[in-house]
Symmetry: C2
Subunit: 615 residues, 2 copies
């Protein structure tokens, strides 16, 4: 498109953004208007995308990081002929797929959900990494950012990652409209301030007038010609550009234009230009295929093996069987044992250094492209990426997250390193699966099972060695459990997972010597839980005692309680959990101090059994 | 101290780090050894600190961001005469206050817990901000960082914040030992790479040999002489410096030295030099005092007021009555209503822009210094700061966090903006308090009550207006609840909080017309919960129906269930919660689609009542 056509297209995108927001009675048209020319030039002259084949392997990828500018995205879809005007005007209504912030669940051209600022660039960096090292079909990744969101550390985590990885297929466009939600940004229109920052992280920075379509065109061309480093286009723009009453004015963020009809007229009225978006190149790489039969590691019953070790070996084995499995590390691969995968499959291993947001964002970006990522760090440090995990669930992405060093059982390192709230965090993620295995064979089976589940899958592993209690032939999966001790005389049921399974077994055996029989359930699938087994145990033994190496809220105790919120009278239940702040001590001392070791369990059982007798 | 003395002190700190780790059988001596000379020069020649009066208002503040180098910190305490050698050797043992990573709960000279990397600099920036704008006693804030942790985005969020705020009282020291946990860092010994990044964010960067005590001394002097901008000292060091068998070698992170005795000899053997640390200046500013009686805003029953509005007004009022209250905003103060405080008390208002980790870190830093911070953003975006919240609880800090725009009730903006996992996150924080008020007067009282509680306090507010149901004279606090509908004929109890209280009341009134009486409890204190009231309701009505605008896990339903994990038979319970992924729609449509509006509650009640009859 030439200058006149591009300028007209920019106005059309503004008009449609204003119309959509007016129809909705809400939305962020002024944030769309500042970026309209940037979007017009991209769509008409540079993006390579087949809207009829969003899955085309050589399609460029576009991420709208400033997700609140969604009317601009939908206006562009209309201009590209992907949606009709009638649908555009369903924006933000019940049932419409054109949501306030874009999500890929129902709109096939959206790569990832945005709306939590500072996530678009990190995820785009993940896609670009997949493009460069995995897909290799030559596509470019474009991400349109706001200037306000550059205050997020996650942006600089991504800048560092992309710069270090020389992602010259990644182009960030920053709509520097100088106004945030409540007022001016830190740096206003000082493009140099942003350029210095990106350059320091190894990027090629290009400054441009964001309303001069020819200048924008040249900037994109320069960005595409950049090799060996990612490029950022810093575009000086005006919020609400094109309508004098709102242009460059504070206090108008997230509000439809006060007089939409007059604004549309001022913008030149409705237009219906259709853009012929460039086709992607025909070349398309085949997807990786299964390379060999899955040979999971097998461990002997009674052997002492840390579940983190089993995870590392199982992941390496899975990587051999499935060419689509990739692994990501937060610079603790020697501790999480992801290093096993790194050794076996170095081309599918990604070191993300100590940057947990980028770790999860990279995994998300790879999942966007159909890869099956396993991202690992200490369980405690996954809390750093909570918002990214939440957003990945909104995207409907399937990613595997593995947290090692869970609970007080880690010992001397103290509370900063103990995952004690990870189960609560992951249970509350929509559609998630949460596994907490107690032995090596179970871990191996769950590592393999995770790969094929939907949504966010979490596996919690343990630092220290625990005895293998299951044979390598046993099967485990979502919603399962194992009853490890059971008799007709069981006085109650101990429900445990991970390290506490072994404490429960020791307690059960000790109590049995005194004639007190208790059932022991290994509830390795914390979400979904095996409701039938728990109900059966409650009916048959009358009381459930949950024991978890986790805070008392949101973990195993809550998971068990949820089963009994079914309108029927609940069983007797008691919870053992970590209720005090731990310090440094040996693992067995920690479990004892928290009252979740065999001694603590035995004492609780005796108390409950005596209470029952007393009644 | 002169060159010889400083060098000897560095060796002493190394020896004591090796000894402490050897005694513990674990720890990170090589990470301590690289920074020993940096610490020696700081302690002997630049730090102004009275170890006998850690609360001295003019004491410099020191934060060990690389918390795993704790033996170095404890060795410095010994050199300063603050602890004895015997205590040093209790490192990492059960009951010792010298934990694997430093925590301030028991060690008076530790400002904040560290061990989750990338948090020291953000919190130090918060302390420095308090120093400059609140305390004004002239102290400096020193923070010793590792090089690995510079990969964390939170470090650059802090760099941006400190640069923009011209915090020339903040000095970061980076121990560039080039080795992370599993291998080399991204930039190795390339000090320039780090210098470029800090300079881009407005810092003065100084490069030095981190083992040349005179050079270090000059670097500190230069940093102290820097005005108008924060300073960073980038020190080239060797991990394990001083012991040839471990110096600059990979694979030795987090391990005691293999041959401790030989290493100690190589380092010149034990020394017992005591350092006379400089006294802080005598000047000490008085703490702020109560300036006027608290006049909370009062709202008329029946009036329609958003609880976020009530929060804003109450916080401004509280700021008038308490001079120690400060407010922090994540660039959404117009939405959270923190802007009310900003207008009333601009000197105690801190804009943190869209940087939620720094928002919470700044609050933590101010709490370290005795201020009472209220930090606010959307509930959903507080997940971004989860790891900082977790660490603040380990520090034992009292901070108030306020999340607005909770739940599907926000309406059209869609799931990225909806806090649907915040209750789960905050309940699982050790020692936390969680409030979710339903009306304006209740909100105001809870805003005031929060200020005096221990630990992490969370208040969840609502975007839309809700009717005022309580008079301004009613009192509310931690562990409370209100029974809003009650009769002797109640067939069950609806337990609600926030927006769902109003839906529950509407349902109760509708059902009453059909002769079905239900009790309604407003469980505004989600943690701790009012166990007695819930137990009484369970006994008297036989069934509890919880209704929450939150995912089904970790929130109100789980909080109620926890009450009944007391070893006694549980009541009948049923949960209504958000179980599907919302899209865009009006607030009432959202509540209806999630089944948590009056219609959904009524339908559930009828089903439960019929079931009871059928039995």
């Amino acid at each position: 498109m030439n200058t006149t056509e591009l300028a007209a297209l920019g106005q059309q995108l503004r008009v449609d953004s204003v119309r959509a927001s007016a129809a909705a009675g809400s939305g962020h048209p002024t944030s769309a208007m500042s970026a309209a020319d940037l979007m017009a030039v991209l769509l008409a002259n540079h993006l390579r995308y087949d809207f009829e084949r969003p899955g085309h392997p050589a399609n460029d990828r576009f991420v709208l990081s400033k997700g609140h500018a969604s009317p601009l995205l939908y206006a562009a879809y209309k201009a590209a002929g992907a949606i009709e005007d009638g649908e555009l005007l369903t924006f933000r209504r019940l049932g419409s797929r054109l949501e306030g912030h874009p999500t890929p669940r129902r709109v096939p051209w959206v790569e990832t959900a945005t709306g939590s600022l500072g996530q678009g660039l990190p995820i785009a960096a993940g896609i670009a990494l997949a493009a460069k090292r995995l897909d290799r079909t030559g596509y470019r990744v474009w991400v349109l950012c706001g200037d306000s969101e550059l205050a997020e550390g996650s942006v600089w985590e991504a800048a560092e990652h992309a710069g270090y990885e020389n992602l010259d297929n990644l182009i960030a466009i920053v709509d520097v409209n100088r106004l945030g939600q409540r007022g001016p940004t830190r740096h206003g229109h000082d493009l140099d301030a942003y350029a210095r920052r990106f350059q320091a992280f190894g990027w090629h920075a290009i400054e441009t007038d964001g309303h001069d379509v020819d200048a924008i065109d040249r900037a994109y061309a320069q960005a595409l010609a950049t090799t060996g480093q990612p490029a950022v286009i810093l575009a000086r723009t005006l919020k609400g550009k094109g309508v004098a009453s709102v242009e460059d004015r504070e206090g108008l963020h997230g509000k439809p234009l006060p007089e939409a009809e007059a604004a549309i007229a001022e913008l030149g009225g409705p237009r219906t230009t259709h853009v012929r978006v460039s086709e992607p190149p025909a070349a398309a790489a085949p997807r990786p295929v299964t390379t060999e039969a899955l040979q999971l590691p097998a461990f002997d019953v009674g052997e002492e093996v840390a579940t983190r070790d089993a995870f590392g070996k199982a992941l390496a084995a899975l990587g051999g069987a499935r060419g689509d499995v990739v692994a990501l590390d937060g610079e603790v691969g020697d501790s999480t044992r992801t290093e096993e995968f790194a050794k076996a499959h170095p081309n599918r291993f990604f070191e993300c250094y100590i940057a947990e947001q980028q770790l999860v964002a990279s995994a998300a970006g790879m999942a966007v492209r159909g890869w099956v990522p396993y991202a690992s760090t200490f369980a405690a440090f996954l809390t750093r990426a909570h918002d990214f995990i939440r957003m990945a669930s909104i995207s409907g992405l399937g990613i595997n997250l593995v947290g090692s060093h869970a609970g007080v059982a880690i010992g001397q390192d103290g509370p900063s390193q103990m995952g004690l709230e990870d189960l609560a965090m992951f249970r509350a993620v929509h559609g998630s699966t949460v596994f907490y295995p107690c032995d090596a064979n179970q871990t191996a089976k769950l590592v393999a099972a995770m790969a094929s589940l939907d949504g966010i899958r979490y596996l919690r592993t343990t630092r220290g060695r625990t005895p293998v209690v299951y044979g390598p032939g046993e099967e485990f999966g979502a919603g399962g459990s194992r009853t490890l001790r059971s008799s007709e005389d069981d006085r109650l049921t101990v429900v445990a997972a991970g390290v506490t399974v072994h404490e429960a077994l020791a307690a059960a055996d000790r109590l049995a010597e005194d004639g007190i029989r208790v059932r022991v359930i290994d509830l390795y699938s914390v979400k979904p839980v095996d409701a039938d087994t728990l109900r059966g145990a409650a009916e048959e033994t009358g009381c459930l005692l949950t024991v978890e190496d986790h805070h008392a809220e949101g973990g195993l105790g809550d998971a068990v309680a949820e089963v009994f919120a079914d309108g029927r009278p609940g069983p007797r239940t008691v919870r053992l959990a970590v209720r005090t702040m731990p310090g440094s001590a040996a693992p067995d001392e920690q479990l004892h101090a928290a009252g979740i070791d065999a001694a603590g369990i035995s004492a609780a059982v005796r108390l409950l059994v005596e209470e029952t007798v007393a009644r």
